[in-house]
């Protein structure tokens, strides 16, 4: 690699400097420091796992795993405790489904409009406006669900008896609106990544804008859209304040959205905000439910990340 010497062999030290920079220890130290900062995030995950495992293990030392997964009674904070997680899991699932029924169609519609129909100027105004929704603190959503949406539903309920003061429906509806920006903005990114050649091909065959959007752009961006929805599910499952405020603190196994019910996050919030002694068994239940929540959202996040990578590989 080195050029042939034109003159007599120069001083070897001076020659070496051409091949290789002199070692700069300061640069190395800085690089190590930066790596250390990046490792803080890995330490965070490790910290979460470390803080979850011992109390969870102690919990399952006393409570049978089958009883936890299959039990239909959750009375962990009562004097005669039962530890069946199904009521918490069922409530989480029901509220998540309600939220997604709102968020997926509305979010997707907003994404199609922003990506396919809106002019650059309109998009510049509407997109930030939609993102303001994501910036509203969740306590505020909870307040709105409890004191505006619930009375509204109770007043105008068309059939039979209306919803309870605490109910899953208003929590789910408001949570759905909260998730719209997540789904809309990620789906729009995926649609924007679809190459124009696909659109032009469809237009050349005589399709209108609606057909191009629904039959060409949406299928081409599908993995990104699914990723957005999965991330929405993950956010709905992990949302705490809305359900703690609006859906109640009674763990009941019910699939009637008009009933009060308690989700996994709702239980953690309720049990954790009281002053529970460290050695007590109630303290351990917080971590057991937390571990279940972490595992579920972890799986969801991994699926979502995989799907996003897939569409990036195809189009970018």
């Amino acid at each position: 690699m080195s050029p042939p010497p034109r003159t007599a062999a120069p001083d070897p030290a001076a020659r070496r400097s051409l091949h290789r920079a002199r070692p700069r220890y300061g640069e190395r130290v800085i690089q190590a420091l930066l790596l250390l900062a990046a490792l803080v995030s890995v330490a965070t995950t490790a910290g979460i796992v470390i803080s979850l495992i011992p109390p969870t293990a102690e919990f399952f030392g006393r409570v049978d795993v089958g009883e936890f997964i299959g039990g239909t009674e959750w009375t962990a904070l009562f004097t005669k405790p039962e530890y069946g997680v199904l009521p918490l899991l069922g409530a989480t699932l029901l509220i998540t489904v309600i939220a997604l029924l709102v968020a997926i169609p509305v979010g997707l519609g907003a994404a199609i409009y922003l990506s396919e129909y809106a002019s650059t100027r309109v998009r510049k105004v509407l997109k930030p406006a939609l993102e303001v929704l994501a910036g509203v603190p969740t306590v505020v959503y909870g307040f709105f669900a409890l004191s505006f949406v619930t009375p509204l539903l109770q007043e105008h309920w068309p059939f039979g008896e209306g919803p309870d003061f605490n109910n899953a429906l208003s929590a789910g509806l408001v949570m759905g609106v909260m998730i719209i920006p997540t789904i809309a903005s990620l789906s729009e990114d995926a649609m924007a990544a679809v190459p124009d050649a696909l659109r032009d091909g469809a237009y050349a065959l005589g399709s209108g804008k609606r057909v191009v959007s629904v039959r060409v752009v949406v299928p081409a961006a599908l993995s990104g859209i699914v990723a957005a929805c999965v991330l929405g599910v993950s956010r709905a499952i992990g949302e705490t304040m809305i359900v703690a405020i609006a859906s109640g603190n009674r763990a009941t196994l019910s699939f009637n959205p008009l009933d009060a019910m308690q989700t996994m996050t709702g239980f953690i919030a309720q049990a954790g905000s009281g002053d529970i002694p460290v050695r007590s068994f109630e303290y351990k239940t917080i971590f057991a439910v937390g571990a279940l929540l972490f595992v579920i959202t972890f799986v969801m996040n991994m699926i979502s990340i995989r799907l996003v990578r897939k569409y990036r590989e195809v189009y970018e």
Binding site: Q31, V40, L52, Y117, V132, P137, G238, T240, I245, N301
Partner: protein
């Protein structure tokens, strides 16, 4: 198809204009439907803000920031300790998470070789952390920081927990800002003999600062609105004093609001709405600052 005429088409068969838009009712309806979807979010936001303002109006006065919370006398209650608590906690959150986040972003963008397994692991890990429920961070703070490291339920624990919570947001935003700096600037600096760190410090960072600042402000406004993790970290609702240091007990606005929402008396309802207006006003100012920064300093390369 065999009948190929070379003559002009007959005059009475008026040719349809090629570019002329044919009215398609399906298209128009679809477009209207999509607009409705956007409207849902924006109308919801409008109704929410109006409702909160109307409910807050009777209590939106100086009692709110001059007085301390009280359960027995809602008419004299205020949120001063919560406002100061929020300032304390968020200031230290910024102090902890901004340097760490920016440094991590510099590492990932400028040094990390994406083909190494550990760099890929860090990246995957950050993407996952960004979507971990915030209450899980509360469990981390409770189990590890408050109990194992015996930091107790103090301003310090709250700030550390919130730092970890918003760290992924800071990292992701800073990485985008750093990535937007064109490669040619780095190459020019390196060609003039600057080392990699000199290039980063004198060229890349100054160019990326507006983007980093915007992302950081948005991350901190998330920290301000966060309540769930602090529920587990003893942000007691009725704290009748302002924090005096890192070891101090504290409460923050979202937790204070949660506490007032849980009370059944009418006065507390208005008090909660009034505190929400203060919280939203703080967030509005921060977001306006972020947008101003972006428009004022952002460069097009």
């Amino acid at each position: 198809m065999t009948d190929i005429r070379v003559t002009e088409p007959p005059a009475h068969a008026e040719p349809r204009k090629l570019g002329g838009p044919r009215f398609r009712p399906g298209e128009a309806a679809f477009r209207a439907l999509l607009l409705c979807c956007l409207a849902v979010g924006i109308i919801f936001l409008g109704v929410l803000l109006t409702y909160v303002l109307v409910e807050a109006w009777p209590r939106l006065d100086s009692r709110l920031w001059n007085n301390f919370p009280s359960i027995r006398r809602p008419e004299r209650a205020g949120a001063q300790s919560a406002i100061f608590g929020t300032i304390w906690v968020v200031a230290f959150t910024a102090l902890f998470c901004l340097p760490t986040g920016v440094m991590a972003a510099i590492y990932l963008e400028e040094y990390a070789d994406p083909n190494r397994w550990y760099n890929r692991l860090i990246e995957l890990n950050i993407q996952n952390l960004a979507a971990v429920p915030s209450i899980i961070y509360g469990i981390l703070g409770l189990g590890l920081l408050a109990r194992q490291l015996a930091l107790g339920t103090t301003v310090l624990t709250a700030a550390l927990t919130l730092s970890l919570l918003v760290l992924p947001v800071v990292i992701i935003a800073s990485r985008e800002a750093i990535r937007a700096v064109p490669q040619s600037i780095r190459q020019a600096s390196l060609a003039l003999g600057a080392t990699q760190w000199q290039t980063i410090r004198r060229q890349v960072l100054p160019a990326a600062i507006p983007g980093i600042a915007t992302g950081s402000i948005l991350a901190l406004s998330r920290a301000i609105g966060e309540a769930a993790p602090l529920l587990l970290l003893g942000a007691v609702t009725y704290v009748a004093f302002n924090p005096e240091g890192l070891e101090s007990a504290y409460t923050v606005l979202p937790i204070q609001i949660f506490g007032w929402i849980s009370q059944s008396r009418e006065e507390f309802h208005h008090l909660a709405a009034a505190a929400i207006v203060i919280l939203l006003a703080i967030l509005l100012v921060m977001n306006a600052a972020a947008i101003w920064l972006r428009n004022r300093f952002s460069k097009r390369w």
